[in-house]
């Protein structure tokens, strides 16, 4: 067996671009997913019964569908509904769509974890619902759910690999492409693993640092 890293250095530019595409689809999709998730959770909290039920069904439906299937439905099935998206856009939107329901569940558990009494105290002082949401619930729940959010982010990072199926030029697509063209599977897959490991290690370290920072009020 040969081990030749020159193939990597020769394609460094393409690999770097793919690395950026992975980061872009991952972060853009996650940010959109987080926003949508927060919206869903807030609607479930403050909306009426019918809306709650509808969102519940939506959440279960999306959770019960593999990411790959969602991707196929949107990218290949979309055009028959008049939905024509570029591969990159479709990828970002699918990650957002897929993750929104998980984020919604995380946010919901966060809302539930802030004791009701704290809201009653605020209510009696004349604080409004939105003020309580913004000043009492959100700051505390963000601390509580941070580990779960970071965990979800690492999962989504690896999930971007699936976007290679719809021709998004991200890390997995580009590196396996190089590998099959030049028969350097070990080298390319090794680089691929290291790249994902790097992203996830950075994410979880940043998460732990942030957890410590924002949770300072919990220390005795």
């Amino acid at each position: 067996m040969t081990f030749d890293l020159s193939i990597i250095t020769a394609n460094a530019g393409a690999i770097w671009n793919a690395f950026l595409v992975t980061i872009y689809t991952w972060l853009a999709g996650s940010v959109l997913g987080l926003m949508a998730g927060l919206l869903i959770a807030a609607l479930m909290l403050f909306g009426g019964r019918p809306l709650q039920l509808l969102l519940r069904v939506f959440i279960e439906l999306v959770r019960g569908t593999p990411f790959l299937v969602i991707l196929f439905l949107v990218y290949y099935g979309g055009p028959s509904f008049g939905l024509r998206l570029g591969a990159m856009t479709a990828g970002v939107l699918c990650i957002a769509f897929y993750s929104s329901v998980y984020f919604a569940e995380i946010f919901r558990s966060g809302f539930a974890a802030v004791p009701r009494g704290q809201l009653e105290a605020g209510e009696c002082l004349g604080l409004g619902r939105l003020q309580l949401l913004w000043r009492v619930q959100l700051p505390q729940m963000l601390v509580l759910i941070l580990p779960a959010i970071v965990n979800m982010l690492t999962i989504l990072c690896k999930e971007t690999a699936v976007l290679s199926i719809i021709t998004v030029p991200e890390l997995t697509a580009v590196l396996t492409g190089i590998g099959t063209r030049t028969f350097t599977f070990i080298e390319t897959l090794l680089v691929l693993c290291i790249a994902y490991l790097l992203l996830i290690e950075i994410t979880s370290r940043a998460g732990r640092w942030l957890e410590h920072r924002v949770g300072i009020y919990l220390q005795r």
């Binding site: 009696c124 004349g126 601390v143």
Partner: protein, 288 residues
């Protein structure tokens, strides 16, 4: 205090000229159900300006629920509660049906209420000062500097100005409860409602909270206190209300309730209390 259930029998601890003035809190025939369970029935209760009323009774007697109704944290189903003459929480429409009063009207009626909870309910992500300042800035719309000055004054009053920058997690239970009292006081309420303010505290820490409450009472604050601290009730209250199974069993001055009572249920309740707190070999007996 005078309860208007049977006016001839009403015992008032308030000077006569005071009771002619409209009560600051007025409850008439208040009832409350949780599902089929009637937790409060036909409660009449007047609290006058500067009066200290202690609600006592066994757990499940409805005393906490009654207090929470007075802040409309629980919706009462029957009767009326007036705070300074304003109907609390409900509105009567043209056809005589009642419906929820809007947020603004509810807040208007609550404006002069301060409430202190058993579990303190401080916001843990804000410092002691932050907790006290929050509503001054967001509700009273004071500029931050002015709000903080006012908050510091309130913290000073409960003896905690040195702990202003600490987060609640770094304070003892007693200190946390005093911050909670300061948070309510900073809004300059005319009435303070206390829901078992010392029940969640280590026995050693109860005193410091009661001392603050005593001082408030001496300064003429109108107070309604749900408590298991019979000593506090005996020393500070103008009147004591004994509740059992959602009804007022008896009411009167501490002397009348703690010494001369003829109500068997109340005697049993007090005897239990004395037995539980008995020391050495002597079990104090109630006077006959």
């Amino acid at each position: 205090m005078s309860l208007s259930l049977s006016p001839t029998n009403a015992i008032s601890a308030v000077p006569a000229e005071n009771s002619k003035i409209a009560p600051i809190i007025h409850l008439a025939a208040v009832g409350k159900r949780f599902g089929k369970n009637q937790v409060l029935a036909n409660i009449d209760l007047d609290v006058h300006h500067s009066e200290v009323v202690c609600l006592i009774g066994p757990s499940g007697s409805g005393k906490s629920t009654l207090l929470r109704c007075m802040a409309f944290l629980e919706e009462y189903d029957d009767g009326e509660i007036h705070i300074e003459g304003r109907l609390l929480g409900w509105e009567i429409d043209d056809r005589g049906h009642r419906k929820h009063a809007g947020r603004n009207r509810l807040n208007e009626a609550r404006r002069n209420l301060g409430i202190v909870f058993q579990q303190f309910n401080l916001w843990p992500h804000m410092t002691a000062l932050g907790n006290v300042t929050e509503a001054l800035v967001r509700v009273r719309r004071l500029p931050r500097q002015e709000a903080e000055k006012k908050a510091m004054k309130a913290l000073d009053k409960v003896g905690l100005s040195e702990k202003a920058k600490e987060y609640p997690a770094r304070l003892s239970g007693g200190q946390q409860q005093r911050v909670a009292i300061a948070r309510a006081l900073a809004m300059e309420p005319k009435i303070m409602l206390f829901d078992e303010p010392t029940s969640a505290l280590d026995p050693e820490l109860v005193g410091e909270v009661l001392a603050v409450m005593k001082q408030l009472a001496q300064e003429g604050m109108t107070m309604v206190v749900v408590t298991h601290e019979m000593g506090f009730a005996a020393q500070v209250a103008d009147s004591v209300v004994f509740l059992d199974q959602g009804s007022v069993v008896t009411r009167g001055t501490p002397n009348e309730v703690f010494r001369d009572t003829q109500h068997p249920r109340l005697r049993q309740f007090l005897q239990n209390y004395l037995d539980r707190n008995a020391f050495w070999n002597t079990t104090p007996e109630l006077e006959n």
